[in-house]
């Protein structure tokens, strides 16, 4: 048997066979691999080892995951250097495998080995999922059936992309069967037969061998069973470009998902188009764009949106030309494609409304005209570049693979698909925790006075080296928990789409900094506050378009969501170009609600601060979107809980910007080490504005009690930390002997009086027992460099009274 066949066999066995059977199969696989292909031999050996290590009682899932990875790698290696039968005389190695990499005969020219490996991986995973679902077919229900159909559809699309028409046909037939069958149970046998065949066929196809027999029979079987059972929902492939409004609830239910997916595809397409426009035609961008439109086409076709399908198909054709000859992607064509994405977007919008209303016109003005133009653009040019999709595999691949390497060098900032593994979060946490302990012990060893006095230069150098490695390790450990904000941001684009429709305002969302990373647990909790703020912006911030036009603004409103790093923090900014916060309305409302004293003049930041009061809302109308104006207090609280803060900038008539300043991670903070009563405490640097040695002229005391500090003309309350904690403090008696730290707290700025400042230090936050912290004064503990525990002060709890907002009034609301 060939390596490809053995690989297929092993893959098929993976899900169910016992480890003993797998071990035997792995042994044969290893024997079949020619020893001169070192990579391949090593992989095969690896599989054998894995199976030897894992006993019969090993966690099955773990084993399967591991082996799937290995098998994919072997499939990839096979495509790199096609392996023939093991022969006594080894095939001479002509050149390193990488340079001889050639797309197997019969495949489209753009398919490269990496793509095939990805394809194999995708098929394997998809089919495993199909099998799992089929084994439990009786309990699938409609949702399950739809999910299954989508998986099959994806598998079909993937097959088509790499040019395996034979597979595509099979999937298509099964998909039809599934949707037509009264119950998914009826297709179980066929689906499993299909899966077995595909898993045998794919490795062969990838290596350029002929597919194993049985395909025709299978196809016949799938189609034959299709005929006698008259499908309740006929699936006519739209011959003309027309849209059919779906009538059955099942299809309507799928629309929501379709819109989401399509919207994402369009965003991707726009991003890619803009990058092409700015940076020239890159093969990889064109490929990505092609795939995007292909997905879109598939989605539209699946839902019988003929016109969108047709347009996507026409664009796909333009892009196909560009893949063969980048010069065909002229500015004019690029412009057409850009217009097409906009057109698809409008068409989707119209369709969505029609679906929601249950009826309606799907025709979007100018659609057919654009479609004609796109088709014509191709027709006119078709004389010049002949479609060379199936170019001879001899000449094209070497050129294209070189090109691709060049591309990577030229454009390093292009998003690269990174390989990932799934790891249990608790394992990561326990690793990070252990690293944290290492960091502490390392600091203790490095700071041990008796050690430092005795060691020589050499050991000192080694200690420094150890220190550096430990820091690196800590950084990498924390990076394990970091995720890009992309996921959170993508959800927002969907939300804005919805909000735009529901509020009847046209709003565009601009995203930037989606690759900025932050701790996973932080990113997860960020979603809700962002949703609140986004809703507020769409509902209150942005004016109806007639008002916008009257104010001389473009009718289309813009919300910008951006993220960037600043210092050790991540900043997330949400700004709209709406009407801005209405200071007078806010103050009036606050007075009405008894939140503030009418006689007091508030600064702008103080006025903006009022919108964070619970239940505060200035909106005249309660709307479907923003509810009753609750939310901003929740936003504020969540941000504070994440040890961050929130700032508002607003200009009336121009818009509002919310700025969230957040730490990158919850595990480590930058802290200011301070001393009160001979003990050290840590205050997060994030909430410190400045620190100073107070002069007698700055200090005031009301009736010998309440303290005030004058900071450049601002009178701030001065909190005596020693008094607050109930510990003796020299600064309590004589503030000029101590230091004042100006803190930006939940309820405004205040001065914090301490005995001494030691300096800034990164500390790992350790949880402290709730019984220790009944007043919430501390947010945790930190192990200091001498091994002692320093308590971390919670800045929001340091000051319980409020300057102008009466506490009782707040709680009553």
């Amino acid at each position: 048997m060939s390596v490809a066949q053995l690989l297929a066999e092993m893959t098929a066995l993976l899900a169910h066979a016992s480890p003993a059977v797998l071990r035997e199969a792995a042994g044969r696989l290893r024997a079949a691999v020619p020893p001169d292909n070192i990579d391949l031999a090593a992989m095969a050996e690896g599989i054998v080892c894995v199976l030897e290590i894992y006993g019969d009682d090993t966690d099955r899932e773990l084993l399967v995951t591991q082996l799937q990875g290995d098998l994919s790698s072997i499939a990839y290696l096979l495509t790199q250097a096609p392996v023939s039968e093991p022969t006594p005389a080894p095939v001479p190695v002509v050149a390193p495998a990488r340079t001889t990499a050639a797309a197997p005969a019969g495949l489209p020219a753009w398919v490269d080995p990496a793509m095939l490996a990805e394809f194999y991986d995708g098929q394997l995973h998809g089919l495993t999922e199909v099998e799992e679902m089929m084994l439990d077919a009786a309990s699938l229900g409609e949702a399950g059936r739809n999910k299954l159909a989508r998986i099959l559809h994806t598998l079909k699309g993937e097959s088509a992309t790499v040019g395996f028409a034979g597979l595509e046909e099979l999937y298509h037939a099964l998909e039809d069967r599934l949707l037509a069958a009264p119950s998914p149970v009826e297709v179980v046998d066929d689906a499993l037969a299909l899966k077995d065949w595909v898993l045998r066929a794919v490795p062969a196809l990838i290596t350029g061998e002929s597919a194993p027999p049985g395909r025709e029979e299978l196809l016949e079987r799938l189609r034959a069973t299709e005929a006698p059972a008259p499908p309740p929902v006929p699936l006519p492939i739209p011959t003309a470009a027309k849209n059919v409004l779906p009538s059955d609830p099942e299809a309507i239910a799928m629309f929501g998902e379709f819109f989401d997916e399509a919207a994402e595809s369009l965003i991707q397409a726009d991003e890619l188009l803009v990058s092409i426009e700015a940076g020239g035609v890159e093969a990889s961008s064109v490929d990505a764009l092609f795939r995007t439109f292909h997905t879109l086409k598939g989605l539209a076709g699946f839902l019988e949106l003929g016109s969108i399908q047709a347009l996507a198909h026409a664009v796909e054709a333009l892009l196909d030309d560009a893949r063969n000859d980048p010069s065909t992607l002229s500015a004019a064509r690029l412009d057409l494609i850009l217009r097409a994405t906009n057109m698809v977007r409008s068409a989707l919008h119209a369709t969505r409304e029609a679906v929601a209303a249950g009826s309606g016109d799907l025709v979007v003005p100018g659609f057919d005209a654009l479609l004609q133009k796109v088709l014509e653009a191709r027709r006119r040019a078709s004389v010049a570049p002949p479609p060379v999709r199936f170019a001879a595999p001899v000449a094209a691949p070497s050129a294209s693979s070189e090109e691709r390497e060049d591309d990577e060098e030229r454009k390093p900032n292009l998003a690269v698909v990174r390989e990932t593994i799934k790891v249990d979060l608790t394992r990561v946490d326990s690793l990070v925790e252990t690293i944290g302990e290492l960091v502490i012990v390392e600091a203790m060893v490095n700071n041990a006075a008796d050690l430092r006095s005795q060691i020589g230069h050499r050991t000192r150098h080694q200690l420094a080296q150890l220190s550096k490695i430990v820091r690196d390790l800590q950084r990498q450990g924390l990076a394990l928990r970091m995720v890009p904000l992309r996921g959170v941001f993508q959800k927002m684009s969907r939300l804005v789409r919805d909000l735009s429709r529901r509020s009847g305002k046209s709003i565009q969302l601009e995203l930037s900094g989606q690759d900025a990373e932050m701790d996973r647990s932080l990113a997860e909790r960020l979603g809700d506050p962002l949703v609140h703020m986004m809703r507020n912006a769409a509902d209150h911030g942005i004016e109806p378009s007639d008002q916008r036009v009257a104010a001389g603004k473009p009718p289309m409103a813009t919300i910008r969501l951006s993220a960037y790093h600043e210092g050790g923090n991540i900043i997330i900014e949400l700004s709209d170009d709406g009407r801005g916060l209405n200071r007078d309305a806010i103050v009036k409302k606050a007075i009405e609600r008894g939140l503030i004293d009418p006689s007091i003049q508030l600064s702008d930041p103080e006025a903006w601060e009022l919108i964070f009061a619970p239940g505060f809302s200035t909106a005249a109308a309660v709307t479907e979107i923003s509810g009753r104006g609750v939310g901003m207090d929740v936003v504020k609280r969540t941000v504070e809980e994440l040890r961050g803060r929130i700032q508002i900038q607003s200009v009336i008539g121009k818009g509002t910007t919310f700025r969230l300043v957040l730490p990158l991670t919850l595990a480590i903070i930058d802290g200011m080490l301070m001393v009160v009563g001979g003990r050290r405490y840590v205050l997060p640097t994030l909430s410190i504005l400045e620190s100073m040695k107070p002069l007698p002229s700055q200090l005031h005391r009301f009736a010998g009690g309440g303290r005030i500090i004058d900071v450049r003309g601002d009178q701030l309350p001065l909190v005596d930390l020693g008094g607050l904690l109930g510990v003796p403090s020299s600064a309590s008696d004589d503030p000029t002997a101590g230091f004042v730290v100006v803190v930006d707290g939940l309820r405004g700025r205040f001065g914090l009086l301490v005995d001494d400042l030691i300096g800034q230090q990164q500390v790992v936050i350790k949880h402290i027992d709730a019984t220790l912290n009944s007043e919430g004064l501390f947010s945790g503990g930190a192990i200091l460099s001498d091994g002692q525990v320093g308590l971390i002060l919670n800045p929001t709890a340091l000051r319980v009274d409020e300057p102008r907002v009466r506490r009782g009034a707040l709680e009553a609301s």
């Binding site: 925790e433 402290i768 019984t771 002692q788």
Partner: protein, 151 residues
């Protein structure tokens, strides 16, 4: 560090107990609730916490609260001496905590015959008491570790 403690046998039931001295009396806690015994080290006080919380110590990178049972019982605090140690307890799956004791004595096996019914004393702090052990003419007050920790 993350190993979960097997469910602790109910205090007051037959089994093995770690005994320690507070002033002149002997107290015991189920051995399964004892994680380790560490030597006395400098304790960082936690301002504004309950009066019977002595503070926190660094237990291999963890912040471990340390309680003073004598303060809990309304007595004068444990005075540090050469014999003073911190017994680290972990009741069920809750977080570990340290208890300051004057002296650790021994590990005692209490058979059913050693266990006596508790006479009603009508006194304060009875909520900490899980039972009595009678051995070699001595009396051991068996404490409920979980109750010690609750504020």
């Amino acid at each position: 560090m993350n190993a979960t403690v097997p469910s602790v046998e109910t205090s007051g039931a037959p089994g093995r107990y770690l005994t320690f001295r507070l002033d002149r009396e002997v107290y015991g806690v189920p051995i399964l609730a004892v994680r380790e015994i560490i030597e006395l080290q400098e304790i960082s006080p936690v301002p504004r916490s309950s009066h019977w919380v002595r503070g926190v110590v660094n237990l291999r990178g963890r912040v471990l609260p340390v309680l003073d049972p004598k303060l809990r019982f309304g007595l004068s605090p444990v005075e540090p001496s050469e014999l003073t140690v911190i017994v680290v307890l972990q009741a069920d799956d809750s977080k570990p905590f340290g208890v300051l004791v004057d002296e650790v004595l021994e590990v005692l096996r209490l058979e059913p015959s050693h266990l006596a019914d508790a006479p009603t004393m009508n006194c304060d702090h009875e909520e900490f008491l899980a039972g009595f052990g009678k051995v070699r003419d001595g009396l051991v007050f068996l404490l409920d570790p979980a109750a010690l920790r609750v504020s």
